[in-house]
Amino acid sequence: MTESSNEYNLLLPLIPVLLMVPALYISGMESYDAAFLIVLAPFIAFPTIIIAGQLYNGNETWKNKMKEGGIIGLAALLVSLSVSVWILIEYLAEIHHFSGHQVTSWIEWISFEVLQSDYTMSSKRVIGVGVWIDSVTLMLLFVATFLCFLICWFSLGYMNTDPINEDRNHRFYAEFVLFAMGMFGMVLADNFLWLFIFWEIMGLCSYLLIGFYFWKESAAYAAKKAFLTTRVGDVFLMVGLLILYDIYGSLEFSVIFADPSLHGAVDSDKLFWALLMMFIGAIGKSAQFPLHVWLPDAMEGPTPVSALIHAATMVNAGLYLVARMVPFVDVGHHGVAGLEDLGLIVAYIGGITAFMAASIAFVQNDIKKVLAYSTMSQLAYIFTGLGSALWFYNHGEHHAATFVFGASMFHLFNHAMAKGMLFMASGSVIHEVHHAHDHLHEGGNDHDDFDPQDMRNMGGLASKMPVTSTAMMIGSMSIIGIPLIGGFWSKEGIIAETWLAALEHEPLMIGPAILILLTAGMTGFYMSRMWFMTFAGEPKHDVVNHVHESTPWIKEPLVILAVISFLGGFLLALFGVIDYLSGEYDHLALHKPSLLEAIIYELEHAFLPKNPNLRIVGWTTILLSFIIGPIIAARVHGGKLAEGHRASPMVAWLTSLSGMFGSQDATELSQSSLSEALQNRLYFDYYYELALSKTVLPFAVFAAWFDKTVIDGIIKKVAANSVLGSFQIRRVTTGRASDYILMVAVGTLSIFVLAWGVSG
C-alpha cells in the first residue's frame, strides 16, 4: 500500500460536480425543481459504468485512475447528495411558511379512460410521475444520499484492494448506483405505483449484489433466498396497492391524502385489508418476523452492500411505507372506525421481531451476522414505534402520536448512521484480518478453513486498529442507547410512548412494550459481546498480531459517521427534530429562548418525565441497556489485553473494564439447548425449507413437466405441422408469371362479383 498516499488525487475531477449546485442556484433554479437530478444522476451513471467497464476492462488507467468505475459512481452520488442537501437547507430555511409537502416536476405518464358502472367510457384517469417532498422524505433522502456517498467512498478502499474482485468491480459499482437510483426514486416518488416500481428495482439490486460472489454456492443460495422471500411480501404489497386503487381510483399521494372527508365515504374494511397487505410487503422488505429469514444470509454479499442495502437504506423502505400509512388513520378526532387493530398488529410484529432477533444475536459468532440480527431488532423498534403512532393517531391522541412518530423516524436516522458505520467498521476488521492472513500464509493452502469474519479468530484488536475500534464502540453505544449518545434519544421515546399506550390506553399494548423493554437490555448484551470478542481480550489467533489499519479510503467514512452518531442524536434532539419529523412545527424546540434552556428541557424530558410511570420505564431501560447488559457481556466474553499491548486512549477505558470483569469463559453457556436452538436461528429456516420442499417443490416439478411436455409439445407440433402444410401450399406457386396474372384476374373478378352480390 505504499502508492496509496497519492490516491486522493483521484477526487480532483469531482470538484466541478461540487460547483453544480451553486451554479444552479445562481441561475435562479428552485431547489425543489432540481430534485429530479437526484434520481437522474445515478440513472445515467449506471449504463455509463456498465459500458465503460465492458470496453476498458483490464486497462491500467481504468483500474487505477477510475477505480473500475468507482469514481463515476462517486461523482453521480455526489450530485445526488449535494442536491438533496440543497433542498434540505431551503426546506429548513423556509420552515415557517411551508405547508407540509410539495409536489414538483410532475409530468403525465399514462392517461386512459375507464368504464363507468353504466358502461360508458367517461372517467379519465391519469398516472403521473412527480417528486414529493416533505419532512419524512427529506430525512430519508438525506440518510440515503449521504450513506450512499460515504459507502461508495468506502468501497473504493474495500473492493478495489481485494484481488478476488479484480476486473469485476465495474459490475459492483454499476449495481450500486442502480440501487441508489432505486432508493432515491422510492423516497421521492409521489405515488404508490412509482414507489412500487423503485421498490422492485431495489429488490433486484439486492439480489444481484448479494450474489456478487455467485460462484460461491452459499452466496447464490442467499441471493435466491432474499429475492424470493421479499417477493412474497411484494406480492402482498401489490395486492394492497390494487385494493387501494380500487378504493380511491388513484395511487397519487396528493389525491389519496388530500381530502380527509373522502375517508368517511370509503369502506374501512377494504381499507384495513389494503393497509394490512401493504404492511406485509413492508415486513418482507424490512426483514421482520415471519419474513425475516433472508437478512442474515444476505451477509454473503460484499460488506459495503451489507452496510448500505441491508442495514442503512433498503431495509428502511418498509418503515417508510408504514410511515406513509399515517394519513389513512389520522382523520379527525376519533380516527377511522375499523382500523383500530392496524397499529396493534404493527406493534406486535415489531415487538416479537425485536425480541427474537436480539436473542438469536446472542450466540452468533460471525461479526456480520451479529450486526444483521441487530439490524432486524432495531428496525423492529421502529416498527413498534410506528405501530404505537398509528394506534395513537387512530384514537385522536395527537400529541402522543406525533411524538412517537417523530421518535421512530429519528430512530431510523440514528440507526442508519450507526449501523452503516458499524458494518463499515466490521468490513474494515474483516478486510485487515483477511489481508493479514494472506500475508502470513502466502502460498499456503489452508485458505479455506480460516474465516476472517469469525469473531473467534479475533480478540485484542483494540491495540491494532484504533480508528475502527473507536468507531465500533461509538456505533455500539448509539445502538445500545447509552444515555446522551445517538440512539438513546429516539429509543427512549419509542419505549416510553409504547408503555404510555399500554398503561393508560390499550392494555393489549403491554406485549410489545415488555418485549422492547427486555430487548433494550439484550441489545446492551449482544453489542457489547461483539465488541469485547473482537477488540478486547487476548488474541485468539496468530493472525491478529499482523493486522494493520492501513488501507486508504476506509477510515474517513468511519470518522465522519462516528462523529454523527456520537453527537448527532443530542444536537438534533436539541433542535426539536422529533417534532419536526412528525410535521408538528407548533411546539418546536426552536422556540426556546436560549440554548441552555433547550438543553435543560431535553434532559428533563429524557430523564425526569412528569409521568411517574414513564420515569420508572425510562430508568429501567437505562439500567438494563447501560449497566446490566454490557456488564454480563464483559463477564462472559471480556478479558485482559495481551501483555505489552495497549489500546488507544479512546477505548482504553473499555478494554480495562473488560479486563476487570472478564473471565472469557463462555463454554457453559454455549452448551445449553437454548443456545443450540438460537444457533440454529430458532429453526425458522429449517421449517420454512421443509414446508417449501413439501408444497412448492412438487408443484414446481409438475409445472416444469407441464411446461416441457404440454405447452412446449403443443408449440412444437404446431410448428412441425405448419412446415408440412407450407410444403403443400408451395405447389401453388409455379413461378410462371402468367399463372400469377391469372390469379390476380380471378381474384379481382371474384371481388367484383362479391361486391355486386352484396350490393344487389
Binding site: G735, R736, S738, I741, L742
Partner: protein
C-alpha cells in the same frame, strides 16, 4: 356523338384481349404490350366518360396515365434487357428463380 356504352364495350374487348394475351404469351415483350393494351382500355373509358359528362377530370387522368405508362415501359424494357443478359432469353418461363 357516339353512345358511351359502345365505347365502354370497346374498352372491355380491348381489356379482355390484353388480359388473355398476358395469360397465353410467353414472350415478355408481348406481355408488356398486352399490359399497355389493358391500360389503354381503361384510358378509353376515362376519355369516353369525360366527353359524356363534359368534365375535364377524365382527360387529366388519361394524360397522367399515359405519361406513367411511358415511364413504366422504360423500366419494363430495362428489366427485360437485364433478363436477357442474364438468361439469354426473354421467355417468361425462364424467369422463375424466385420460386425456389
Amino acid at each position: 356523338m357516339i353512345d358511351p356504352s359502345w365505347i365502354a364495350a370497346l374498352g372491355v374487348i380491348l381489356f379482355g384481349i390484353g388480359l388473355l394475351g398476358t395469360f397465353y404469351h410467353k414472350n415478355a415483350i408481348v406481355v408488356l404490350m398486352c399490359i399497355e393494351l389493358m391500360l389503354n382500355a381503361a384510358n378509353l373509358n376515362f376519355v369516353a366518360a369525360a366527353s359524356h359528362y363534359g368534365d375535364v377530370d377524365g382527360w387529366v387522368f388519361t394524360a397522367i396515365a399515359i405519361s406513367i405508362a411511358a415511364a413504366e415501359v422504360a423500366i419494363g424494357l430495362a428489366i427485360l434487357l437485364s433478363l436477357y443478359s442474364t438468361q439469354g432469353t426473354i421467355s417468361l418461363d425462364g424467369a422463375r428463380e424466385l420460386r425456389n
